[in-house]
Symmetry: C2
């Protein structure tokens, strides 16, 4: 009886809160059940069971603020959600929580090609942001697998990485200003569009990467760049990760630092793609222990001499590397279609792994100079732990973010292999940590990496995080339980 009565009270609270939220966003834009709820509760890797009181879809920052105020008054905490494509469970909610989804706030507010900036609402799909920039002859460089469905607000909240970090940096480096709703429901307007503005503490970067725990980002001013018009794409065969590292430095020099991609791929990964993916061939004549996919972008257009400089520079750099024994063989794409084919090799490696059975994945980084040592140590440690496991090291060598994935031993039971996820993670994370690396290079913390936060972050650093969280969200209303492994402050 007691519990029924409590439950009835909770239902009443929910009903009251739902009424108030519906008055803010409109009945149509408050989801409390049915099939429309499902996409908001799905979770990429199927690791968590998500639930919520309601999903509110506000139309503007004012409505977000009103939703936050209303929830705060009811003591109900809030999970901000974008495209719900995160891999770490950052947008997973509990039954008593309200999800605020930014999908309706999807306007590109302004593209200013002269200022090399654009202003967007948080709910814009990343691909639409890229397209709006391209329409104005500019580049917004953030690019990642989920770009067709992830929202720019989620990219900011998680400081997403992606494939252009070598040249353009992470999301953080691409943002000039943000607007956000704070835990008390006030709107902070930090929509700076200046390149130089040295006034006060850096609130923008505090919000970026905080995964909705310090504020809900509602809009942003983004940096744009000249749109690339020519690209030079090459694949090189090298004897070792050390040689690849040497090649990376030489080509940064040779290209006047115009490399946008430098991906390292182990031969086992390349041959797996050749074996499993229709139409994929080895781009080089013989097999090599390691391959590098290299892309350089130039913005000079035109035929003949104009626009040919970058290709000449890259050819000269590769030729010198060949002469000096740094690389064994290389091919430069002669056409855009050949370029696309070379780039596809890297994507096909990801696809091909599915044919090799279960795969334990990692999102780690080390200092770029430590990539060869990292690969050596992890490889040895994995074979030590599971002699028949197959290591597939590949990834963004240019920024130290190697996806050291491990495929199951042939014939082993998949579930039995995947049960080794945590101990394998531990092996890889420990080695990354010893080399000054990170256990989360580009995916963030969410719920998945709370244990690693507690293990690898210093007590001083965790204290600082908690002090900041308490200062900006004293009642722990914004995405509680994410990012910070603070048992004492959970709600």
């Amino acid at each position: 009886v007691q519990s029924n009565s409590t439950s009835a009270t909770a239902d009443t609270v929910t009903a009251d809160l739902s009424d108030r939220l519906a008055r803010i966003v409109g009945d149509k834009h408050l989801i409390t059940g049915g099939v429309r709820l499902r996409p908001h509760l799905e979770e990429l890797r199927g690791r968590y069971t998500s639930a919520c009181r309601a999903v509110a879809l506000p139309a503007d920052a004012g409505e977000v603020a009103a939703v936050v105020q209303t929830c705060a008054a009811a003591g109900v905490s809030i999970v901000a959600q974008g495209g719900n494509t995160g891999a770490m469970g950052g947008a997973v909610a509990r039954a008593e929580q309200v999800i605020v989804n930014l999908a309706r706030m999807n306007r590109v507010l302004e593209v200013d090609p002269v200022n090399y900036t654009m202003r967007v609402e948080a709910g814009c799909i990343l691909a639409n942001v890229q397209a709006a920039a391209a329409d104005a002859g500019r580049l917004f460089p953030l690019s990642l697998g989920a770009q067709g469905s992830c929202q720019i607000g989620g990219n900011l909240a998680t400081n997403a990485g992606g494939i252009n970090v070598l040249r353009y940096g992470n999301t953080r480096d691409l943002v000039l200003g943000v607007q956000a709703v704070l835990a008390d429901g006030r709107i902070w307007d930090g929509m700076n569009s200046l390149r130089k503005n040295n006034t006060g503490y850096d609130l923008k970067n505090l919000l970026i990467g905080s995964e909705g725990t310090l504020g809900i980002i509602t809009a942003a001013t983004l940096k744009l760049f000249p749109a690339p018009k020519r690209r030079v794409v090459a694949v090189a065969g090298v004897a070792s990760p050390d040689a690849a590292l040497d090649l990376l430095g030489r080509l940064r020099d040779a290209s006047s630092d115009r490399l946008s991609t430098f991906e390292l791929m182990a031969n086992i990964a390349v041959q797996s793609a050749v074996r499993h993916i229709a139409g994929q061939t080895d781009p080089l004549a013989g097999e090599h222990d390691w391959y590098a996919l290299i892309v350089a972008d130039g913005t000079v257009d035109g035929d003949g001499d104009a626009g040919a400089g970058l290709r000449r520079d890259m050819e000269a750099g590769l030729a010198r590397a060949l002469d000096d024994g740094v690389l064994r063989d290389a091919v430069i794409a002669e056409s855009e279609s050949q370029a696309r084919k070379l780039i596809l090799l890297r994507e096909n490696i990801v696809e091909a792994q599915n044919f090799e059975g279960g795969s334990i994945k990692h999102d780690v980084s080390v200092p770029v100079a430590q990539v060869p040592e990292f690969i050596r140590r992890v490889h040895a440690a994995i074979l030590d732990a599971m002699p028949a496991a197959r290591a597939y090291p590949y990834g963004h060598m240019g920024d130290g973010n190697i996806h050291f994935n491990i495929s199951q031993p042939p014939g082993m039971d998949k579930e039995k292999f995947l049960a080794q996820w945590r101990p394998m993670n531990r092996i890889v994370h420990e080695i990354a940590h010893q080399l000054g690396g990170s256990f989360s290079a580009e995916h963030g913390i969410g719920l998945t990496k709370l244990e690693e936060m507690a293990r690898y972050k210093s007590a001083v650093e965790l204290d600082l995080y908690r002090q900041i969280k308490r200062a900006l969200d004293p009642h722990n209303l914004l995405n509680p339980g994410k990012v910070l492994p603070a048992a004492s402050a959970s709600r």
Copy 2:
């Protein structure tokens, strides 16, 4: 009697504290009087009277921590000081305070050319940091007037700007990690050297630009870049700031975004340099209303074809701009000595202003696209306020940071003119604010711009600053009274 007694007590406190501090840093490294005190109390513009109980010169982060703990225990607040070259009074102290100067912590800990990083102690002179990077074939791009005496820790604390922001960003963009001593005397080790590390709140950027009010930066990991080996330097004559803006966009495209400098100079400023500085000539055949100094850097070395690409790209871009009527005339340096001479024009403009009598200076920025409108409005407003004043707009057009300096009317009393500093500032800051600009582009806040902070920052933003300050420095021990216009929290 009462006041004598209080004074005697204060003296005793000072003596006790000095003893304890001397035991930490060594007698030789605690300055409590005499000529060695003077350089620590001097202030660039002579606006403030600085004083202190003592200047402590710690040898390492451990000693900084011990000094902070000791001062905290005594309830004495601390002013962190680097090269003491700041223009905003950020390193000015009061008689009851202790100055912690980082000059002895001047070791370059490591230069890693393969990782494109270096680790330095906070007291390193900026020029020495640049030189250590260059010795390893790398570029540390931060460059500014005081580089021969400013310390890298001060550059970080103030997020210094300088002349390479267009291409490489502010200090903030050049830092991967920091180590800092917190208000409670603990050391936070955030010496990250990763390009991708998505774990936790961005403490690094919170400390950068906080002017010693949230922590004392004791070391940093800096980003390096390939060293430029070729540069293309040009001066163009254009009809208007609008034409200069058009030229900037065209040359960013034409050079594959390798512009490091794009400086706009009014004819009055160029002709003043020609008139006052020996050897300075107008680089173009006829006078133009506006001039642009343009520098593009490439890292490709060698003669003949290799290395010539950037020059060809720039020539092509300038030729197209001439054909399209965007520029009237241009000269490209044929040699490095001619290049140096063209660059000197910009520096000579600063020098020449001294011959024109008193000058009221500004450190403002606007969105790059608003530079022409900003110049028009400020020019009109200044002539309105003082019809005979001479406006010398020049500066970093590439990042929107125009130094709109005003020279006194010929024959006017200099002191009488300089007495107009505040109302003139107000005119310029108001117009910058209306255009989405900043009242402090690269120099920070210190004491000088507290009034502007109160005037132009929103109540929400000031609240956030204060919440963060209270969270990280609850007893207001670190550089109190700077950055935040918080009368209620002063010490």
